[in-house]
Amino acid sequence: MFLINCPFCGERDQSEFSSGGEAHIVRPKQPTELSDDEWAEYLFMRKNIKGIQFERWNHVHGCRKWFNVVRDTSNDKILSVYKMGEKPPVNYK
């Protein structure tokens, strides 16, 4: 349980948000060209990182907007929040 600083509404309880999982998984440009392996990679395979993870959240019980979060999954500490379309911060790897 933690607070998330929604870039549109400010700091709110995590229970107001819904997690959208790993961020920056790019939707295939030409789905018809994809092999089964590439589909599996896109749909199912996840980094599932223990440590610093880039992820998407939706403020579902608030402004209902999507945004990105950098969070350390080993202690739930949020390191950065940035809007959709913005470049991810480079100081976290």
């Binding site: 997690s19 999982g21 599996a40 749909l43 980094k47 739930d76």
Partner: protein
């Protein structure tokens, strides 16, 4: 067995103030090389080592555990055992495990306190009723005992349930698997550890895996906090940390690790003699032999390795418990904890070879791995020893996420994941 437990050994040791019991398993330093290494000393890992030694005649095996054996999800779950899964592949897998449970105390000469007190799954709306009835039919076609109970029969089987029609989620009926029940979770890990150790398996605690050494597509050994250990067969049974280990071999798995919580109340006199699960309101409850109510909550929605879980999840679960069992309204909760569960997109496990020779994964059990412990160990041992899956775990391969042959138990398996 060198040190067989019996009523006579109990009397003998009682006379010497229980000071002369032998250590149940060894505490060796790792050797330089093993035929096979199991990563993860939980129930599934220890069971795998046990069956490798017992049925496949491998003698030079080690189990590496970064903490202490049974200290992960084996010691954190709500100990529910059942096999009433919808699909044929799952029914085969979980009923294989249930059959092994039925004789496990005798097999291990260790009382795992397996108690077939029945598991009842409640229906709260018309769709639940249809789904659960369909599942009882599917179960019976697969030779698994299952019956449908109407509201009156539910009330008769578990009188403390509030079956009033005017509650928010009224009880419209339920299914019952009488062969299902609970077991003592620690005893399962300890029993397998003792059995495996007796057959020469090295159980190495406080030994964390730091890297997997590969030569091309063949594994050569493991870097650990106790040095490099050579082996050509690695079975990874690391539950919530499976992706972390996979990453060391350059593999990605279709898993997300999330905290799952459970809690127990203060101990009270016997009040509920079965296990009741409710999918729609997500509450399940049983009572331990010590008298505590054992309550299972849901998972958090986000990836986390914190072994804590959020308070709002517990709150929602207790709300549901109170509506179903108003009698518990003044119970105090004693302890709450979280475990990290590795959830597959189809909510079914992976017991599989990988495209790296000698590297095997047993993971993705998500919120319900405890019930499968003996079967999981048995089938994973078979897979490692023969480099081929057993027919019961063939469907649970890693390649199903490429081929599309998912075993979709999400929601179908009588509990929300």
């Amino acid at each position: 067995m060198k040190n067989k437990y019996s009523v006579f050994s109990l009397i003998k040791n009682a006379l010497s103030q229980h000071e002369n019991w032998q250590q149940a398993w060894g505490n060796p330093e790792p050797k330089k090389e093993y035929e096979a290494i199991i990563v993860g000393g939980g129930g599934h890992g220890l069971a795998t080592a046990y069956y490798l030694a017992k049925k496949h005649n491998l003698k030079n095996i080690a189990v590496l555990e970064k903490g202490w054996i049974g200290g992960g999800n084996t010691g954190r779950n709500t100990t529910i055992i059942r096999s009433n899964y919808l699909w044929d592949a799952s029914a085969g897998l979980y009923d294989h495990a249930l059959k092994l449970w039925e004789n496990l105390s005798q097999e291990l000469n260790y009382n795992v306190m397996f108690s077939q007190r029945g598991v009842m799954n409640l229906a709260h709306n018309l769709q639940d009723v249809r789904d659960l009835k369909r599942r009882t039919h599917a179960n019976r076609l697969n030779g698994i005992d299952a019956v449908w109970l109407n509201t009156e029969e539910v009330k008769k089987f578990c009188p403390i349930i509030n079956t009033s029609p005017d509650i928010r989620y009224p009880v419209l009926g339920g299914t019952l698997q009488r062969r299902a029940g609970t077991a003592r979770h620690d005893a399962v890990a300890w029993g397998y550890a003792r059995g495996a150790s007796e057959m020469g398996v090295d159980i190495i605690q406080n030994c964390e895996v730091k890297g997997i050494k590969r030569n091309g597509d063949i594994v050569e050994g493991l870097d650990t906090t106790k040095g490099f250990i050579k082996t050509n067969k690695i079975g990874v049974v690391a539950a919530g940390h499976s992706s972390v280990i996979a990453n060391m071999a350059g593999l990605k798995l279709p898993l997300e690790s999330k905290p799952l919580q459970a809690l127990v109340s203060e101990p009270v006199k016997p009040i509920i003699d079965t296990v009741v699960m409710s999918n729609a309101v997500h509450a399940y409850v049983s009572q331990s032999d010590k008298g505590e109510l054992v309550i299972g909550a849901g998972t958090d929605s986000y990836v986390s390795y914190t072994q804590r879980g959020s308070h709002n999840i517990v709150e929602e679960t207790l709300k549901a418990i109170l509506e179903l069992y108003p009698i518990f309204s003044r119970m105090k909760m004693l302890r709450q904890w979280g475990g990290i569960v590795d959830i597959c997109p189809d909510a079914s496990p992976i017991i599989s070879k990988t495209n790296i020779k000698g590297l095997y994964f047993n993971c993705g059990w998500g919120t319900g791995g405890f019930k499968a412990t003996p079967g999981s160990g048995d089938l994973f041992a078979h897979t490692i020893a023969n480099d081929e899956p057993h027919k019961l775990n063939a469907a649970f391969n890693l390649n199903r996420f490429v081929s599309g042959d998912l075993v979709d138990e999400h929601g179908a398996a009588a509990v929300a994941h």
